[in-house]
Symmetry: C2
Subunit: 525 residues, 2 copies
Amino acid sequence: MPTHPILIAGQWRAAKASGTFRAENPATGEILPDEFPVSTWADCDAALNAAADAATVLRVTPPEQIANFLTGFADRIEARKIELVETAHAETGLPKAPRLADVELPRTTGQLRQAAAAALDGSWALPTIDTKLNIRSTLAPIGTVLIFGPNNFPFAFNGVAGGDFAAAIAAGNPVIAKAHPCHPRTSMILAEVAFAAVKETGLPPATVQMLYQLAPEEGLRLVADARLGTVGFTGSRAAGLKLKAAADAVGKPFYAELSSLNPVVILPGALAERGAKLAEEFTGSCLMASGQFCTSPGLTILFASEAAEQFIVGVKAKLESTAPGTLLSSGVARNLAASVRALQAAGAELVVGGSPLAGNKFANTLLRVSGEMFLSSPEKLQTEAFGNASLVVVVRDAAEAANVLVHLEGNLTGSIYSDTAGKDDALYAQFAPLLRPRVGRLLNDKMPTGVAVSAAMNHGGPFPATGHPGFTAVGIPASLRRFAMLQCFDNVRPARLPAALQNKNPSGKMWRLIDGNWSQENLGE
Amino acid sequence: MPTHPILIAGQWRAAKASGTFRAENPATGEILPDEFPVSTWADCDAALNAAADAATVLRVTPPEQIANFLTGFADRIEARKIELVETAHAETGLPKAPRLADVELPRTTGQLRQAAAAALDGSWALPTIDTKLNIRSTLAPIGTVLIFGPNNFPFAFNGVAGGDFAAAIAAGNPVIAKAHPCHPRTSMILAEVAFAAVKETGLPPATVQMLYQLAPEEGLRLVADARLGTVGFTGSRAAGLKLKAAADAVGKPFYAELSSLNPVVILPGALAERGAKLAEEFTGSCLMASGQFCTSPGLTILFASEAAEQFIVGVKAKLESTAPGTLLSSGVARNLAASVRALQAAGAELVVGGSPLAGNKFANTLLRVSGEMFLSSPEKLQTEAFGNASLVVVVRDAAEAANVLVHLEGNLTGSIYSDTAGKDDALYAQFAPLLRPRVGRLLNDKMPTGVAVSAAMNHGGPFPATGHPGFTAVGIPASLRRFAMLQCFDNVRPARLPAALQNKNPSGKMWRLIDGNWSQENLGE
């Protein structure tokens, strides 16, 4: 089988490759037959040039056309659903059903359709008009967006089909996707589908481009290139921070979703009231997708008590009685083992699990540590163990719990469970203000693993969870605003204004901030 | 006279100083009598701790109280107007009237009052409610804001009274101001006034703190400190980029307003139609505050023609016949001379001026360069000459003009002048798309020097004009959003929600995005 081509400048063409790679079926260990190229700078350079031309066209492309592409793409994904699910299953080990077929694929097409609606509506861009001074402004496309997709969502966060992709396109930008090397064939099919939709809807051919793999130094060069508008990265902290540094050095916005422990605080009243139920809820959340969600609960704070010991025993029993799932790759399995060892080295004790198993699996793992020990080494004990492992911090009292909370790094989420009768309210009032500024999303009585695609969602948070605490990667329309620059038009002649800023409301539905009030009206004519 | 104290942790107290400095009267060369301390890390550390405590209180302080502080501060500034104007005049050489007394001071108090109104209203935070999923989100205070004020606006951009200060406080954050060492006494008076208003309105005493000066290495340490939420910096590109790198390395948002040439394109029809008037308008803009505005027109593109030569002759005559103003400091005068020499070394020819004059003045200066020469050295020929000097690029034809435009760095503004009869429309249509993505604010038939405090203003732009193209430093309420993080509340119990996200609209006037529509209503009860 020849090496697969890459999608550059409106063509599937042979890469200028420095080498090739194949993916692995993590469940079987089998090396999959398809061969994919490792691109050199020549491919990046061609993609950047083609994208720059596409960006110019997209800036003046009617929103209807962009929306048609996004919905057409969603339709075409559904038409190839069986093949996509089979391929992603082979490349990731994720279950075909319900996960891939019934959850992730519908979520992906749902995101694309929501993004289409947002593009059509246009309100995402916060168009603002000062009629007295005739100054008008709006968010506008930032230029080519380079998207690095992660390993853990082959559809919903894929660089060529996922949430960042949908948001970047809906905001009017071309995308260069860097596929995740763990699921290249899935990415290839998605790119084929996307490109067919591009052609069908007449968008510039280079609106969607895709490379499979790059040498690390080419990646650093790519994120810093002047032709690029911005970068969306979801992946490991180590890789993300290197790329971020390269982008920062040239003043380029870099939207990263990195690591997160998603702390959970279970207050004593809640534990007393419904400890067994919470153990079940917690274990279910921990094991969802074998713990390979960005929002998997990695660190739980309990107050030392008999109830806490019972909770731990309950979780242990459930972890022991549940068959471990296949991890996404041998790399994930190796990293998980290393992270668990690092937590142990820092003072955490194994409650259950801790050992690698055959077939890229890892025993369902729970560790525990005292609050005192945690506070002696808070950085090491916040090592992310990506996969089916979680750490419980057992604190002596409220003061120690508060001290643990203020030592937490930035996280995507933080949950607090309290009893329903109000016994925990004083502790809630003490802890919530400590947790709140350290997390993007605060939950009550709920595990963090469900990330709804809602306008009010924040899938973001303070560094190192992301690169900027003001933005969300999930939730339309807010996620579009990452891929935009603010453009002001001062005394610009009426016919030269973008449609969103002309007196007439372009769709009759667009929300615009006119002299301080949000309105869907036309401006007085 | 003893060294002045600094404002830390609710006290005017002696700095732990490594040395002292005095400001200079740039008009007379006189060293002013007041002695100010250069703080060591001990002062920074104390300020950071005090601010962190204040931040916790401010997060739950009613907006009315914050608004009262801002308006009370504005009132008190007006009460000390004469002293402030005298002091700023002595420290900066800027004219007392109209500039300081009638323009900048009213602008400063106007900003504080607009910020108060924005704090009270709360709509700036884009509160968003998904009633179906019970997910609610809002922008919320990011934590302590460190503000570096620039030399060129002793009131309106002062770290302890200017636009960044007003926005940071209105968004609910404490401020640590780093005064500009060129106008320490002005900053001291403003801090006294601010602190009196803090005490009067019962805000946490460390809501406003101020240091005068720091060793560069302490500044780098300060911007990277974990206790700090973010930084607002207005100043030189060299200093700003060093601080930005330190903040970037620890993932801290850094809002910088750096350099800008504010390109102006005068199309042939406009030049033919009203060349003499444009020469006057241009010269007036160039010489405003001796060219020491962030939006001073530093680079103008003309098409080679007799009309262009007449324009240049006209500008030259006006520059020669206008008395040069005093520059802000001897440092500004030295840097301006060096920048003009650098432009000459890169191939620009002097049309008029080019020489330092006595009393921290510089001859009003115009340089010119051909489009061809510009394109041979575009980076060097975009050296910012901060002060009363400007460069004209004379291009051969439209293709060369377009080529110059695509070589422009990111700028705050870009202006295009075209004729009123439509003869320039084809060129406008060609050039505007090239200029638009490179500037934050696009103007028609207008010089860039007026920066209105409007909700629709963008005083921002692509790097290196600023550190992020999505934000504005001027224009309320958008400027508040720099000093915020996105906070989502998922299933949080009703009484625990911030007022802005509860069912009842807290003011009855706050705009909230409820299920996709902006509304001022309460949620159904």
